[in-house]
């Protein structure tokens, strides 16, 4: 091969990898447009303080969304995350406040209850062979919320020990710990999904369940792991929420699944499975958080807020559609 050819190939590789980057994180353009517009509209928007606010406000949804990404990658869904969040923090409250046990135990209980209900989702789906996780997780959504209300008689629990509050409350320099946690979790998920066997199998199952099965992938096992992790992340999001508001209440996380799903889909994942990335999901979660923050800063009235959110969701995704169409033309 002549050198000229090699150089040309390298250039092509680079050009391709930038395209590749954009194609993976298409929603980024939507986010950038949103940020630019808001910066023009409010001088308070692009301040360190406010950016940190957004980082913190996005964290609960970001944690739920990264958990939600896994079921969606397998062409499934998890409607129960909001309810699992609630039952996780209520049991933590009972253990570490009402019963006064060690905060570490409380944290373990919180995460274990989350993972446990996730496991239940996975087992219902695979062992009962329910036709779609919509059913199993809709069931769990009601069951978990019901139990959360029953065990606490609908009363909130406040006054958590500092250790439990740490994640949701503290800062490292100007940066909220909860956002550092999000970044760490996302990196772990990125490695998990791209570099581990189970992670790759998740994509394979979403791409073609039958082919995955015939390629020796234990589909049931992977699905159980997927829903367990989603539940675990709901527990973790709950931990952050408790730290943030220093109280646990049984209606916490009500309808949070919608925001989480929206973040994943805005981030470029497909409901038909096999397509979606960790960083896309982060961008999706940021778009939602930036939007909410911007509307508050601009003091947009409540009724208009709803309509604007609707329009921006559509617009953000449409920008991505346009970009893809253009890149195909070239």
């Amino acid at each position: 091969m002549s050198e000229a050819v090699i150089q040309k190939e390298q250039a092509a590789e680079e050009k391709k990898s930038f395209k590749h980057f954009l194609s993976k994180f298409g929603a980024l353009i939507g986010l950038i447009i949103l940020v630019v517009v808001l910066t023009f509209m409010s001088d308070k928007f692009l301040t360190v303080n406010n950016v940190m606010n957004i980082a913190r406000q996005s964290s609960i949804n970001a944690l739920l969304a990264i958990g939600m990404l896994l079921p969606i990658l397998t062409a499934g869904i998890d409607l129960s995350v909001g309810s699992i969040l609630a039952i996780s923090i209520m049991t933590m409250g009972i253990v570490s406040v009402n019963m006064g046990m060690s905060p570490i135990l409380g944290i373990i209980v919180c995460l274990a209850v989350g993972a446990g209900f996730g496991l239940l989702n996975g087992l219902l789906l695979t062992k009962l062979r329910l036709p779609h996780p919509f059913i199993s997780t809709l069931g769990t959504m009601n069951i978990a919320r019901g139990i959360a209300l029953i065990i606490t008689a609908a009363a909130p629990i406040a006054g958590f020990p500092f250790m439990i509050q740490y994640l949701g409350r503290e800062f490292v320099g100007p940066i909220p710990v909860s956002f550092l946690l999000v970044i760490a979790v996302y990196i772990v998920f990125h490695i998990f999904l791209t570099r581990t066997q189970t992670g790759r199998h998740i994509y394979a199952i979403g791409g073609n369940k039958e082919a995955a099965h015939l390629s020796g992938i234990n589909v049931d096992r992977v699905l159980i792991i997927v829903y367990t992790i989603s539940g675990l992340m709901a527990g973790l999001a709950g931990l952050v929420m408790v730290g943030r508001v220093n109280s646990a209440f049984p209606l916490a996380g009500l309808s949070y699944e919608l925001d989480a799903i929206a973040a994943v889909i805005i981030g470029g994942a497909s409901f038909f499975g096999g397509v979606g990335t960790v960083w896309g999901t982060l961008i999706g979660a940021m778009i939602i958080a930036v939007l909410r923050n911007g509307l508050n800063l601009l003091n947009v009235s409540a009724d208009f807020q709803m309509a604007v959110i609707g329009i921006v969701i559509i617009a953000a995704v449409y920008v991505d559609v346009l970009r893809q169409r253009n890149s195909k033309k070239n």
Binding site: A154, A158, M241, L297, A302
Partner: protein, 303 residues
Amino acid sequence: GCSGGGDDASGSGDGGGNESVSVVLKTLSSPYWKYVEAGAKAAGEELGVDVTVVGPSAESQVIEQVNMLEDQVSQSPGAIVVSPSQPDTVVPVLEQAAQTDLPILLIDSDADFEGKTTFIGTENFTAGQEGGKLLASMLEKGDKVALIAGALGNPATDDRIKGAKEALEAAGMVIVAEQPGDSDKTKAMSVMENILENNGDVKGVFAANDDMALGVLRAVEAKGLDTKVIGTDGTQEAVESIISGGLAGTIAQSPYNMGYQGVENALKAIKGETVEERIDSGIDIISAENAQEQLDFLKSISE
């Protein structure tokens, strides 16, 4: 059945010749409504009435509440006590039920229904006004204040905000922000953080319920501000916060009394005694001075 049939049905169904009262609330999934339930149940115990308390899983489940009301009516209780989430929605069912001379009592939120025996409660608008006045009393004229509303379209929280707004404006406060917190503690906290970004010098906040007030307080404390935060409902968590120097105050609409008086007067109606057309269950303005008292009371009713 015909008139008086309710007595027979409950008599034969539940034994002991007890009267029965069905209480249909907006929801049973929040402390406030648990207090109402506690009041109603206590009255039942003390007066020897069979009390059934039901309510949907959330206040937004409006039609579900209507369904529950229908299902209760079809069980022919001695009287119905209801607190409608959307007042107009229960009217058709109540009209139907009233044809059998079933006593119907409204609590907490009134409805435009002619046949009702009585309304027991206080206007949410008044509660909001009291909250506004309380907040204004802690501030100087011209101070900046913010309002945190519930989900828009929820009549109870909307009315409170209207009342508070009127009182604050009358007292010469400047309202710099009015944003929705969807009755969610976490959302209210985020909203307040964002408001503080624009208006770091907000001196006071009125929130349409205590959950949101506590979320707001959290945002304020994190900034190290001493902004006064007033909530509504008088839940235990809010009262405890007042005692520990957190919230500046809360407006309690005596939920326990409403429940208790609801059943008490229902029994009167069943027995044919006269019941006042409108019963004010009273508003408690809770601040640092009387918070401990209120806490003791709340603890006593939740056993």
